[in-house]
């Protein structure tokens, strides 16, 4: 449990403790008797002996508030504990034996859930008559099924655990193992459920007492006090306020306690809300227009991206430079975590909120021939480019399509977002036909879940090229697909390159075999840096960085006799080695490699490498 979560738990826990203590200590406190009447002083105001005044029978209000807490909490706690015990037992039995026992326990208990709780309570009260005993019985019955459900679900999940199944297979007494595993697992959800149920029970109890069908007068209860004060609210409105405050305050404290308990017991992020994708990113300061820049298509210059690590900002992409000419295809290659996807997202201005651009430029030359820095372009202007000039195809087509919208809606909104108003339906069918979707007219009307993975990626590609983009970013577009489908999608992208005149493509992949097939140039990324760049044929024939060479050797294509995996793994962003980042895994590393960070050098025109020893190794 993290300390900040525990700290947040302290306040509601302390308040709940105070309320509980007051209720428990009520008989010991120097208070007047809660039921003794004093008709002469009915509705009397505040006096030294009566800090909150006296009620309609002259009884002391403060005393009755504290004793009321005692009654309310006794009812709520007794009912909750009975329900927790009975429900947990039923749930464990049902989950352990399944079959008929499950029907007889969990499913039977769930029938209670068919009724609005208040009504079932009233039905029982009619039969048994009002009173604290009836209340406890009724509330216990009402809350048993929720506990049964919690226990049932936990039992089932524990039963499915590998080592429990294994122990059972070894013939161990499964009941005991189950209990030993189950109890620690079941405790957190049960604790949360208990505090939740106490609050709910208090609400029901006070409601019934308010109707005159719960706690029987003259016993004090907050619901009864509110009921009594209602009749005299013209003369003494404060009498109404105190029990209302006490009741609301107690329920609030319990609810707060429950919320924070749930947070504290949750091993995840602990309810810390993340802003999601729509949050505007800070635009870098400075002017976007770059009149003196050399026009090309895309030029990423010294791009550095940071995330907020546990000890401070950590660079995840450092000084990345990428250049793309119109009509060219650049493959960005690297292992997971090399920063290749983030670089692509930075171009689109779609970085996750946790990632911050610290420096660099992303120069893009638009249709008007003017070059702008996308990192300094206001969100509005950048959005006008997205989907029109810059398009992106994502890795997983299943999650990138909205499951609730038909295929044609996805395409139509891309067209509409950039001003098309007429002929949308026809254009949608045409696009789907262009990406090779069979029967495009009827496929346009189907939902994403009715398509295969490959068909979905075709739809994503169709949406991306809807407005004839000048730059298509494809982020591992075939990784989530079957091998046979991968080839088809690659063929489709290659065909689109021919039909969409002048469209440049950045193809992000970890698969070198794909690079050879589709790209003109390749940029190899490692640990957030570009380590080698150049024309595909040259780089493959004569790599100038040991990492590139190792990647080629580990590719199951070509005539390599045996596959060699690269030993070790990509260093974590917050534990980057000094000097060359690849040195710890490099066969050719020398002492100098771990001390001096290499800079990009040009081993030949149009090529770059970030290796200190490229000359010796060439």
């Amino acid at each position: 449990m993290r300390p900040d979560k525990l700290r947040r738990l302290a306040l509601p826990a302390a308040l709940a403790g105070v309320i509980l203590l007051l209720a428990l200590a009520a008989p010991l406190l120097p208070l007047p008797d809660p039921v003794t009447q004093d008709i002469n002083h009915r509705l009397a105001g505040v006096s030294p002996g009566h800090w909150l005044g006296q009620d309609e029978y002259g009884r002391d209000v403060l005393t009755r508030l504290i004793w009321g807490a005692r009654v309310s909490l006794t009812v709520a706690f007794s009912a909750t504990l009975i329900a927790a015990f009975a429900g947990t037992l039923l749930g464990i039995l049902g989950g352990y034996f399944r079959g008929l026992v499950e029907i007889g326990t969990v499913r039977m208990a769930e029938i209670v859930l068919c009724f609005p709780p208040m009504l079932l309570a009233l039905l029982v009260v009619t039969l048994l008559g009002p009173g604290a005993g009836t209340l406890i019985f009724t509330l216990a019955v009402l809350f048993t099924p929720t506990f049964a459900r919690v226990a049932y679900a936990e039992t089932l999940s524990v039963r499915a655990l590998d080592y429990v199944t294994a122990q059972e297979a070894l013939g161990a007494r499964s009941g005991r193992i189950l209990l030993r595993t189950l109890l620690p697992n079941i405790a957190p959800p049960l604790i949360v459920q208990v505090s939740l149920t106490v609050a709910a029970a208090m609400l029901l109890e006070s409601g019934l007492s308010f109707l005159g069908l719960g706690v029987v007068p003259p016993d004090p209860s907050w619901g009864l006090m509110i009921r009594g004060a209602r009749t005299t609210m013209e003369q003494a409105p404060l009498l109404l306020l105190w029990p209302c405050l006490a009741l609301t305050g107690t329920v609030l404290v319990l609810n707060l306690l429950c919320d924070r308990l749930r947070n504290a017991l949750d091993p995840g992020t602990g309810g810390k809300s993340r802003p999601g994708f729509l949050r505007r990113l800070a635009v870098l300061a400075g002017v976007a227009e770059q009149p003196e820049a050399v026009p090309g298509l895309l030029a990423v210059r010294n791009l550095t991206l940071e995330i907020q690590g546990p000890t401070g900002p950590v660079p995840v992409v450092r000084n990345v430079n990428i250049t793309l000419a119109p009509g060219d295809t650049l493959a960005v290659v690297g292992e997971s975590g090399s920063g290749k996807t983030l670089t692509g997202l930075a171009v689109m201005g779609l970085l996750p909120a946790a990632v911050r651009v610290t420096s660099g430029k992303i120069l893009y030359t638009g249709r008007d021939g003017r070059t702008r820095d996308l990192l300094r372009l206001p969100e509005r202007a950048l959005r006008a480019l997205r989907g029109r000039d810059l398009a992106m195809v994502f890795q997983d087509p299943a999650s990138s399509l909205n499951p609730l919208l038909r295929v044609d809606t996805h395409l139509a909104e891309a067209l509409r977002a950039h001003g098309q108003r007429q002929g949308i339906a026809a254009r949608v069918v045409e696009l789907l036909r262009n990406v090779g979707l069979p029967d495009p007219a009827s496929r346009a009307r189907s939902y994403p879940h009715e398509l295969s993975g490959g068909q979905r990626q075709r739809v994503m590609i169709a949406a991306a090229i809807a407005n004839h983009p000048r730059l298509l970013l494809a982020d591992e577009p075939t990784t989530a697909l079957d091998v046979t489908v991968q080839a088809q999608i690659l063929d489709l992208l290659a065909a689109l390159k021919r039909s969409e005149e002048g469209m440049g493509m950045v193809f992000v992949t970890h698969n070198l075999a794909v690079v050879a097939e589709i790209a003109d140039r390749v940029a190899v990324m490692y640990a957030g840096e570009v380590v080698e760049e150049g024309p595909v044929a040259e780089v493959f024939a004569a790599p100038r960085h040991p990492y590139t060479a190792a990647l080629i050797a580990s590719t199951p294509e070509g005539d390599a006799e045996r596959l060699s995996a690269i030993p070790g793994r990509v260093p974590q962003a917050w534990a980057m080695p000094e000097g060359c980042r690849f040195a710890p895994r490099c066969d050719h590393a020398r002492a100098i490699c771990t001390q001096v960070a290499p800079v990009l050098e040009a081993p030949a025109p149009g090529r770059a490498t970030r290796c200190l020893r490229w000359k010796e190794l060439a």
Partner: protein, 317 residues
Amino acid sequence: MLAYAARRLLVSLALVWVVATLVFMVIHIIPGDPAELLLAQGGVAPDPWLVTDLREKLGLDQPLMTQYWTYLGGLAQGNFGYSLLDDHSVADEIVLRLPRTLELVGAAALIALLVGLPLGVLAALRAGEMLDRVLSSLAALALSVPVFVVGTLIILVLAQNLRLIPAGGYVALAKDPLRHLGLLLMPAITIAVGLGAVVLRVTRASVLEVLERDHVRAAQARGVSVAAIIRRHVVRNALTPVVTVVALHLGALLGGTVLVEFVFNWPGVSGYLVRSVESRDYPEVMGIVLVISALFVLLNFVVDLLYAVIDPRVRHG
């Protein structure tokens, strides 16, 4: 879609039967002689003659299965039994009062959704900021105030102190539509406070979750405007859990009407129920509980249909 609806309807009807059977069973499950229990007044043993009489009146002297068949047969003909006090038909009273309760529930749900949904979306979009914290705290408070406290305080402040509204009551819609709606507003708002807070919380959590989904980013990459993304890709996808939670709270909502009708003197079926419980008129209580519980089940059926409308994947089951 039709097959799905038919399947859900069958399940719901079966549940209504289960509910009816359970309501019938309660009087037999409770330990002790129900006739004696009903007549008991503060521990004093009731007159044996009265007990025999009541037993006969409730049909408790018949064999159990006979009682059950008579009961089910009566229900099939819309007969919910007769009041112990004045022999009037429980069904007639319910037919008269049920529409008023439904109107109240409908109005409350409408207000809760109209307020809770947009505020929930707003809180999610501003997650972590001041506005979000204020809204979330308000929701936590609203969730903790019992519905009868809200009602009582509304009456205390608005009716008693400021004299802005009448303290409750009812006028038929046909008689004076404006006054009818005026009187409907306060009890409806009272119920909507808690429900609206629930809607806000669930909407916020659900929208936050949807905001992280890939299809939102994909829509951004197509250049779709933020407003359109929120409408088409976020809110719609976030609706399913909202519907689920509202459905889960329908029970509490229907229970809440009992208290609110009592506080505001709204002559719905729930106020009638409280009176019946007070006079321990078992057939009346049984009839009302049965009708509202059956209604609860049928409302859940409507919710199941809503799922299918929202999410096309549900239709294919």
